[in-house]
Symmetry: C2
Subunit: 370 residues, 2 copies
Amino acid sequence: MAKVKISDVAREAGVSLGTVSNALNHPEKLRPETLKLINETINRLGYLPNQSARQLAGGATKSFGLVLPRLDHGFSLQIASGAHNEARKHGYDLLIANADNDDILEDHYLRYFMGTQMSGVMVQPMASPDWHPAMTKMPVPIVHLDIHCSEPGYYVAADNEAQGRIIAELAIARGAHHITVVGRAAFMQLTLRVLGIHKALALHPDIKIEVIDAGEWNTAADGYSIGAQIAERSTDERPDFVIGLTDVLASGVISALTDKGISVPEQVRVAGCDGNPLAWSGSVPLTTVAPPGYEIGRKGVQLLMEQIENKAPAKTKRVRIGSAARTVTEVTAAEDINRQELVRPFLLERASTQASSQAEATAINLGAYL
Amino acid sequence: MAKVKISDVAREAGVSLGTVSNALNHPEKLRPETLKLINETINRLGYLPNQSARQLAGGATKSFGLVLPRLDHGFSLQIASGAHNEARKHGYDLLIANADNDDILEDHYLRYFMGTQMSGVMVQPMASPDWHPAMTKMPVPIVHLDIHCSEPGYYVAADNEAQGRIIAELAIARGAHHITVVGRAAFMQLTLRVLGIHKALALHPDIKIEVIDAGEWNTAADGYSIGAQIAERSTDERPDFVIGLTDVLASGVISALTDKGISVPEQVRVAGCDGNPLAWSGSVPLTTVAPPGYEIGRKGVQLLMEQIENKAPAKTKRVRIGSAARTVTEVTAAEDINRQELVRPFLLERASTQASSQAEATAINLGAYL
DNA sequence: ACTCGTACTTGAAACGCATCAAAGGGGCCG
DNA sequence: CGGCCCCTTTGATGCGTTTCAAGTACGAGT
């Protein structure tokens, strides 16, 4: 229980303090026998290097911090997963903190990570980026995820507008005449999806479109009640294609329609809009558009690496990838670091549950980017 | 970008180094005006305390580490969530690391947390606790989650046997005559569930029971193919109650049965066995037994706190809670610290999707323990 | 005027380690 | 035997804090 320190190991092994340190950090510098002796001593004594001291003495350690607003949202998990894999690939650790939908906690963990001499920090901010200006001048590389912001800084976001457009285009391709969008555009991401839908439909004035608010929280229950309401309508007033702004909503709608004896997708097609794994693995196949969370996490780490490698903070390029696979690159002479990437979502069309295991869904997810 | 340190703040504010430190840690010791001055200076300079140095100088910080085998498993997330809330309640931070199903990584993060002067560490180990003996003599309180182990140490686990028993008792209550268990008991938890099922059925020799292996990974696709196989059977050979060892399996079975024209639950009832939120929010209601992940996380932190508060490591009690709500407490004079808690799972019976939003499911989860 | 007490403030020491200039120890050649 | 060079090991130094014994200033009590 008494903490073993490096000097204990050194004394016990009959070598000097610096040699033990080398055994840990630059093993190639030691004679194999010395190394072996030291390693044995380390194990025998149960020595654990004190990370704090290491960091203090040696500068940043190879680890990244990731602050997420929630852990129970599939999207955040995909981010975490992508970030994790990319980080490991570069030999970095990834530590995750749950801000629990609380601005103050988010800020707290952010500062914590900054102060821990992490090599870089990523956040999926939950609200407006007001706090942001104060954060960009932090001494640690930082990347913002899933947020659209014009302030100087590094961002990676899903192209939510494309997300809406893609699903609308699917509806069009399926020959929809009357589309109902279910959900409240409670925040920017959802607003952009609606925008994308409208833009896609602007080219098809013959298609009727309506948007039904589903209450503040866009729950499955909300979806259910709206689905029930839709089911009540006469056949010609009923949409032939329903888009849930959220997969959870769509899932609720499907349940209601089915319960009321309306068959999906024969009579009414229903699609989701956010590729929520919670919905994927349901028993009813749900076509949806998946925002590439995995890819966002991955790109986030890449931007972090980029900042670390180009120590020169005087980065003056402005890159923008998206939408719809178009790539626009413009290099400005601005002094601001402004690097923003939009990652394109992908259609996840499901015909049967047979291929619905989470593992396979993940595979699809990854496959889309290979 | 240049890092501001405490001495910069001190110089700038015209006070001494120790005073700034006090402003941070013992504000009550300072004259209000001094405190105000220092705080202003801190903000103006954008000073961030170096956590490494703090920890080095001040001993452990108030934070816990949690190592999880995966992030995309609902159960782990519930643990994280419960641990998070409990930790915050005590004023501790919680940092999460994803071991990504890799023993080596798990060990790596464990050591990392140990060395970071965390106040305590929790693991949901993925495999056998072989490595464990080496870990218990670590200088930091540690709690193992979701694992059954007889070695001295602190553990919190779901009562998997009860989990099986409960679902079997449900089947009995529903008048089942022929029960089919689907899935491979690939690891201890699943084995215990099967055991529980058998124990419950031992009292009912008239009920026919069979176990069908579903392949190594227990995927939804595996469930689907077994479901299809069951559907092929003649009516009297077909079970009237199917238990998926895993909710994902159950979900696959349901899809297959439905696809083959067998109605669930009218002709065949299907239940899951692990309360996987991924399955809860599906469009088809699935009755399942939820292992109280949230509660496990919570209890884990409580055990951590217990270890921290009773600095005296000569704890000699052995408490065991469960199964079936019986509580057995025995105090031994053993020198070993052996504190093991079994948390009882609860039945999550679902009749309709109307109440299936994740928020409500969580509420049920919590409600069961209020 | 002197003492004592209270309320703050100071600054040196220690925390455990990485670093790196310098010292040590062979081996090889002349 | 001396001189060189290379490979390995050494240990003093500093990283940014916290802590705490010692200090200062001020006011009340006598």
